[in-house]
């Protein structure tokens, strides 16, 4: 038993003193000639897996675009809410291009780019129940959500003594709502509309907006800068908006960057740390069409 604890302690020391990545991930990607993007499989329409097992979604297409601009092949690694941070920190993935909400505490451990998805939070209730938010902001009602959902913190701001039941999958929360184990379901509008098709649910008004951003390693400025420039360039070109419409069905109701102000001169390609290859002919059409999953 003591041996096991000692081994555990030794491992902890080893990991604490492991050398930080001295070079930027950008250099690593160029040297390795591959961009490894972490992506989740269970968040339609942002990042999910189709019936044949391909990674599809808004985030997947953005990752494909980014890889082409760097000029290297793309590899997807499927991550889960539990594994995404250790995978990033141990260098297994270069960035997590998915639906992670930045918050200050998380920012102590990892870094985030500009937010590129703004999910509108809604309250979903059983048909016939009140859809008035005020009715649910007390300690008698039990709210349900998925664990790690960015809206849970925001709801707690509105209602500090709220009681929550947290599940792993969105559909589990919906079943719990239907069987009256919870009174309200806090989620993003994408998930809400997907499940409302099942019937028996009412979608309440939008009450918050939760951003999602690309997650990168702490203190990796060159990589984070490049990703931010790439996102802004996609916005200037209009590609980001078109992808948004393709997957979500409406124009983005936010403006990328610092309150909508893109950095001046962001289209100028720098001499170093700024790979920006031309896209192959026909790539953009395929990306914005249905066959984008063939572009890996």
């Amino acid at each position: 038993m003591m041996r096991f604890i000692t081994a555990l302690a030794a491992l902890a020391v080893l990991l604490t003193t492991a050398p930080l990545h001295a070079e930027s991930t950008l250099q690593t990607v160029l040297k390795r000639k591959q961009f490894i993007a972490g992506i989740v499989a269970d968040s339609p329409p942002s990042a999910y897996v189709d019936a044949q097992g391909h990674n599809v979604g808004y985030c997947a297409d953005i990752a494909r675009y980014l890889a082409r601009r760097i000029g290297v092949p793309l590899q997807f690694v499927q991550v889960t809410a539990t594994s995404r941070v250790p995978l990033l920190q141990t260098g297994r993935i270069d960035a997590e291009v998915s639906v992670t909400t930045p918050n200050k505490v998380r920012n102590e451990v990892v870094d985030f780019t500009f937010s590129y998805i703004f999910d509108n939070g809604v309250l979903v209730v059983r048909e016939g129940d009140s859809a008035n938010l005020k009715d649910y902001q007390n300690a008698d009602k039990v709210m349900g959500a998925t664990q790690g959902n960015g809206f849970v913190d925001r709801w707690k701001l509105l209602s500090p003594n709220a009681k929550f039941k947290l599940f792993q999958d969105e559909s589990d929360v919906v079943v719990a709502l239907k069987k009256k184990d919870i009174d309200g379901y806090i989620t993003g509008s994408f998930a809400a509309h997907r499940f409302a098709k099942a019937g028996g649910l009412t979608i309440g008004p939008v009450w918050a907006s939760s951003p999602d951003a690309i997650m990168v390693r702490e203190d990796d400025s060159k990589w984070r800068n490049w990703l931010n420039w790439a996102l802004q360039r996609m916005w200037t070109e209009g590609t980001l908006q078109k992808l948004y419409v393709k997957w979500y069905g409406f124009e983005p109701d936010f403006s990328l960057g610092d309150g909508g102000q893109l950095q001046p001169r962001v289209m100028e390609i720098g001499k170093e740390n700024d790979p920006w290859l031309a896209l192959p002919p026909g790539f953009l059409d395929k990306l914005l069409g249905d066959q984008s999953y063939t572009l890996d």
Binding site: F4, I5, L8, T16, R106, Q147, D172, A176
Partner: protein, 213 residues
Amino acid sequence: MSLDWSILWQFRDALLSGLLTTLWISAVGIIGSTLIGVSVGCLATVPSPLLRRITGAYVELLRNLPMIVKLFFLYFIAGLPAVASALLALSLHQSAYIADVTKAGIRSIARGQIDAALSLGHSWTQVFRYVLLPQVLRVVMPPMTTQYVAVVKNSAVVALISVQDLTFETQQINVETFRGFEAATATTVLYILIAMAVIGTMTWLQPLRFDRR
């Protein structure tokens, strides 16, 4: 990557409440599965073809389904409340294995004792209570210990239906602060300590005798 162990101190309340939840759920699971499992195991040794088939089907059905499936079935499909589903799933799951262990234990005791007791006019209930179980319970204590440790480990699954046990709190720390490594280490150590406590208690109980002398 720098580790920040102070996160464990910051979340000590959550971890403590999760630990207590795991402890009492495991305790109820151990008691429940023993009661159900020993009963089924005893029924399995009665020479009635119907009873044999029923107990056989019970054990096969429960053993071939993972704990997660039973939990989901009880909570989402049968609609029981979360804690009840957790306790029931845990008890039923382990009871199948305990039934097998009990059956093997009873088989290992001389058949002659059962025949003698029956021919003296005792009923099956009396045979079980006074002849078999006192001997069997002593014999099966080592395999029971393995089963009880399994109950503790299987209790981690109840986090999936939002029962706030140790595993749930660990995941909560992970999604809030992204400091999953520290939380996972603490949880692993705690689970090992609980397992060791169970093994220690069973070893301490070993010399107990269940028959009145």
